[in-house]
């Protein structure tokens, strides 16, 4: 075992875990990567395209290589970064993207075939013969490329959402963040301190620099203990701030360990924010720089200092700055054999503890499944092989400025650091410490920025005493890649090499945005955190421009991947949206009703009875029984809007195409609502209960949008009108009672003092009544079925009781309860339009209601409904269809063609909108829209269904299949 002394792991808590079926030991505080390295496992995965053996490059969330699948079966989580996966007892992890074993991957043949997979290969395959793409490339690529696989089974875990508010959100609990949190926390501000790590402290936990008289990590523990004691400070570990959104809103993803909820997606509302996200070290590219064991120098220090893990005994360092020497000192102190420090600078520091090669570069590496040696070109030009099981590469630091870019912020180039630093940040955000390019005095920077923010918020704050930090300034000579022959990896996750970038340039991709998309550099799940600058540098070299002139890196949310499950939260499956139940839903369920989703509502579709084996049998029975005697239907879901005020009638006059001013109290009228462009928006009935009181109904589907539209008209167009609106859809349960015995049934429940005879309560009457001995109710004599019919409404809580009572008293008349299918059949038989006809493309004229659009008053849509084209005489018009041969059927959606002639779009005469089997007529009937429809009754046409390749001869008829004179409804 390569476990050394020290570290922040808890050696009193050993943990057993599995990797690729083999059991290993680790400790609490380990990550999967640190525990595997401590077990001498460097090989953790295969690369995306070439299936190259790979180990961790980093020790953090920027990891491109060490992607594994955590857990098994339904709990399997693919593409987890081993470098941040907290170790727990029983963890079972598997490597990904190989066929056969990890050490002998059959797909490694791709590496040999690499000339075929160079930059743009994917695009180029599109240009080759189509058959090749479908039969060869696509299946092969789909199979070979890619990352881990989902189980394909429903996710058993719970995901939660939460909302938080604070004065100050501090992003990152490293030295700057901790100093800031302590400053603001002591001042009494509401502070949230969030960090993606499970162990807070940032680089303090990975470095050996002292803070005053104690270690950095010990100082962090002390500060965290004080923060935990402050009720106004909320410390959130394992919480990634993944996005900075408008107006100080941040998205955060919290990993929960061991609880019922796997992840919590937080929305954090802040007055101010302070980004203390630190910096990410970047590699230097050289040939075969991707072997397991080659990692960032800072990652080597993290593994050694924080996790007491050395990936190998013999370790070499490759650096362009002083950090590499610090790595060598730290590792040597823990017992590593430093075989060489290769410093690209001629003025490299000197040491007697290990060999230092100034002005030298690493040009190649060797070792099939893990690093064995590196090839070094010395300043003299001579090359030398140096043994190393691990190589720590230090190319400089890139500030983690990602969140400053989320609101169009563009970073600027800092020549001293040879990296981009923040320029502008979202409103309310300051940046402190390494994230701001401030590599020394970060504690003071964190405190100062917090003090500045407190002053801004009007909170009195005092400076805190900070320990003196041992630190050295950055001294760096930029080096991004070592020129040479072999493949030098820039983006290890997407397998993009220096050569790929050069090839893209040769092929004309000189814009950095095009380069990215062509080579896919920086477009993997790590979003190029370790590769973007290198890619830009190579591009700059090719174009002869400076890096800032070549382009900037720009980052968008999320900072690290967020699972779709977290965004969905509990809104999955049945809970994707609310389900609305009508008051008599449970009664219907007791009857065995089959339900259908209508918007958010569940409505009874039909009520099967014993012996009925098909839905048609049930529906035919419900229709025939209703037309013969009486049927009851739950119509609660229709939108109901209460309109009150002195100007209520004037308001309705303007909202509806037809007039309401003259509607008498106690009467109902059908209303047609247009959009301002003249198309039909919705229809419904409006009842006048009093001079200044109307009840308007909408279709179920448009209840919300019509109400919104009416509020728009009221507030934005005519605020001078005295009118108030209230949605009462959920306040009243409403039932249609239809059929020749509808009145007789209702007379059994309507209290005796209310006369509902035909004389006293004629067709289109309405009134406020009482039922069942004093229960207030509203009665409307309206009909959708074409029968003598009423709609009766009672307060919602009595809906269930009323339904049961009506069924009870209806037994005498063999009353049936019918669902939405029978409702639909009866409205088609009657020729009433519904959603299929009110489809957003139809006008009043189309639907045969052109005369309803009043020309003598102002109403929404009236002016534009007169436009040329909407009033053309050969426009579509509503008609009915019946098959010439009564046993034939045809499909809704069929297009109508003349009896003879070609079937094509030019000959298209219109289409079938609604269709049903009419048990009353004994054959299929349809409604539809055809050109010049009113003049074509009697014509025989073909209903053509090109999808199913069928044609049916149909006769154009009146859309009113029953009782065209309306005698039944007036009975």
């Amino acid at each position: 075992m390569s476990r050394v002394l020290g570290g922040l792991i808890d050696r009193n808590k050993p943990i057993q875990f599995q990797f690729n079926g083999k059991t290993y030991g680790g400790f609490a505080g380990d990550t999967l990567a640190s525990a595997l390295l401590a077990n001498d496992v460097r090989l953790m995965g295969r690369s995306f395209k070439y299936h190259r053996p790979r180990g961790p490059l980093t020790a953090g969330s920027e990891e491109p290589n060490a992607l594994v699948t955590l857990g098994t079966g339904v709990y399997a989580e693919p593409n987890a970064r081993a470098t941040v996966a907290e170790l727990y007892e029983g963890l079972s992890a598997r490597s990904q993207n190989h066929i056969g074993s990890l050490s002998f991957d059959l797909m490694a043949i791709n590496d040999v075939l690499s000339p075929f997979f160079a930059a743009g290969f994917y695009y180029k395959t599109f240009m080759w013969p189509k058959a090749f793409w479908e039969k060869l490339y696509e299946p092969v690529i789909r199979h070979a490329a890619g990352l881990g696989k989902l189980s394909g089974l429903p996710d058993p875990d719970a995901y939660e959402k939460g909302y938080l508010h604070c004065d100050l959100l501090i992003i990152g609990a490293g030295p700057a963040g901790l100093a800031a949190a302590l400053t603001a926390g002591r001042a009494g501000a509401d502070v949230i301190l969030a960090d993606e790590d499970f162990e807070l402290g940032g680089r303090l936990n990975s470095e050996t620099y002292a803070l005053g008289d104690q270690s950095g990590s010990a100082w962090a523990i002390g500060v965290l203990a004080e923060l935990a004691s402050l009720p106004n400070v909320r410390v959130m570990a394992r919480t990634t701030i993944y996005g900075a959104f408008d107006h100080g809103i941040f998205g955060a993803l919290e990993q929960n360990i061991g609880g019922k909820v796997r992840q919590t997606l937080w929305r954090i509302y802040t007055k101010r924010s302070l980004l203390c996200a630190g910096a990410t070290e970047r590699p230097i590219a050289f040939a075969n720089n991707d072997r397991p064991g080659i990692m960032l120098g800072s990652a080597l220090r993290s593994y050694a200092n924080r996790w007491a893990a050395l990936p190998a005994r013999d370790i070499a360092i490759f650096t362009n700055n002083d950090e590499g020497h610090r790595t060598a000192r730290d590792l040597r102190a823990l017992g590593a054999n430093i075989t060489a420090v290769i410093d690209s600078r001629l003025d490299a520091p000197k040491s007697t503890d290990y060999p230092i090669h100034a002005g030298a570069v690493v040009t190649d590496s060797a070792g099939r499944l893990g690093l064995r040696s590196v090839t070094v070109q010395l300043a003299t030009g001579e090359t030398r092989q140096i043994a190393a099981g691990a190589l720590g590469v230090s190319g400089g630091w890139n500030p983690n400025l990602h969140l400053t870019c989320h609101q169009r912020g563009r970073p600027i180039w800092n020549a001293d650091l040879a990296s981009f630093v923040p320029n502008t940040a979202p409103v309310g955000m300051l940046v402190a410490g390494a994230a701001n390019g401030q590599m020394t005095a970060v504690l003071a920077d964190g405190m100062d920025k917090a003090l500045q923010i407190m002053t801004d918020l009007g909170i009195v704050a005092k400076a805190i005493s900070l320990p003196v930090a041992e630190e050295t300034p950055v001294r760096l000579t930029p080096l991004f890649h070592v020129p040479g022959k072999g493949r030098a990896w820039l983006d290890q996750q997407n397998d993009v090499t220096v050569k790929d970038v050069k090839l893209a340039h040769q092929e004309g991709y000189i814009s950095v945005e095009h380069l990215k998309r062509y080579t896919t550099l920086g477009m993997a799940t790590d979003q190029g955190k370790t590769s973007n600058i290198g890619g830009l540098a190579v591009m700059a070299e090719m174009t002869g421009k400076s890096i800032p002139d070549t382009g900037t890196t720009i980052f968008r949310p999320p900072y690290t991947p967020v699972s779709i499950a977290a965004f969905a939260g509990r809104s999955a499956g049945r809970d994707f949206r609310p389900t609305r139940l009508t008051p008599s839903h449970h009664w219907a369920a007791e009857q065995g009703a089959v339900f259908v989703e209508v918007g958010m509502w569940l409505r009874a579709q039909w009520f099967p009875r014993a012996g009925e084996t098909t839905w048609r049998q049930s529906v035919d029975r419900e229709v025939l029984a209703t037309r013969k005697s009486v049927g009851i239907c739950d119509v609660t879901t229709l939108g109901k809007i209460d309109v009150q005020g002195r100007d209520a009638a004037r308001f309705l006059d303007r909202v509806y195409a037809n007039g309401f001013a003259k509607l008498a109290v106690g009467k109902v009228r059908y209303g047609l609502m247009l959009r301002e462009d003249g198309m039909v928006m919705d229809d419904g009935t409006t009842a006048r209960l009093a001079e200044d009181h109307f009840i308007t109904t909408t279709t179920t589907a448009n209840a919300v949008s019509v109400f919104r539209h009416m509020e728009f008209c009221r507030q934005c167009l005519w605020p001078d009108l005295d009118v108030q609106l209230m949605s009462i859809t959920e306040s009243w349960a409403q039932y249609s009672v239809a059929g020749p015995n509808a009145r007789a049934l209702l007379q059994r429940i309507v209290d005796a003092e209310h006369d509902i005879s035909n004389n006293a309560f004629p067709y289109m009457a309405c009134g406020q009544i009482t039922v069942c001995g004093g229960l207030r109710a509203r009665l409307f004599r309206i009909s959708f079925s074409g029968e003598l019919a009423f709609e009766i409404a009672v307060p919602t809580r009595y809906g269930d009781a009323l339904m049961r009572r009506m069924v009870e008293v209806g037994a005498e008349f063999d009353a049936v309860v019918y669902g939405t299918e029978a409702l639909g059949v009866m409205r088609i038989e009657k020729g009433h339009v519904a959603g299929n006809e009110l489809n957003g493309t139809t006008t009043a004229l189309t639907l045969g209601m052109g005369a309803m659009v009043s020309k003598s008053k102002d109403s929404i849509g009236a002016v534009l409904s007169t436009r040329e084209g909407m009033t053309a005489p050969d426009g579509l018009a509503l008609v009915g269809f019946r098959p010439v041969n009564p046993s034939d059927s045809f499909a809704a959606g069929s297009h109508l063609m003349a009896k003879h002639g070609a079937v094509n779009a030019a000959n298209d005469q219109g289409y079938v909108t609604s269709l049903c089997y009419s048990p009353h007529l004994g054959h299929v009937i349809g409604l539809g829209l055809i050109k010049n429809g009113a003049a074509r009754h009697g014509e025989v046409m073909r209903a053509v269904n090109p999808v199913q390749n069928t044609e049916t001869l149909v006769e154009v008829v009146s859309p009113h299949f029953i009782d065209p004179k309306g005698e039944r409804l007036r009975a």
């Binding site: 107006h247 609101q407 934005c716 167009l717």
Partner: protein, 92 residues
Amino acid sequence: MIINHPLLGPRDAAEFVYLGDANLMARPDWQAENAADLFYEYLYLRDNPAGLHRELWYHEQGDRSWLVVTRNTVTHEITDVTLARAQRQVQS
């Protein structure tokens, strides 16, 4: 986004429904001689400014107020929020 509702204070944009340009409040006179042209322009012709934009938002998950929100389409900064009905009454 946060919209500072004149009656209810700061509210998350998720509570609102967006409609569009606040010029939709300036509905033309239906009896004007060129009413058809005026309505055509009212309904279909819009400015698309990169900068300040007056627009209508409806507090559907709240008090049902229609608001006129002045928002910078480049930065999303909101500089003014008023009740549509109040603004409309001032104009008329």
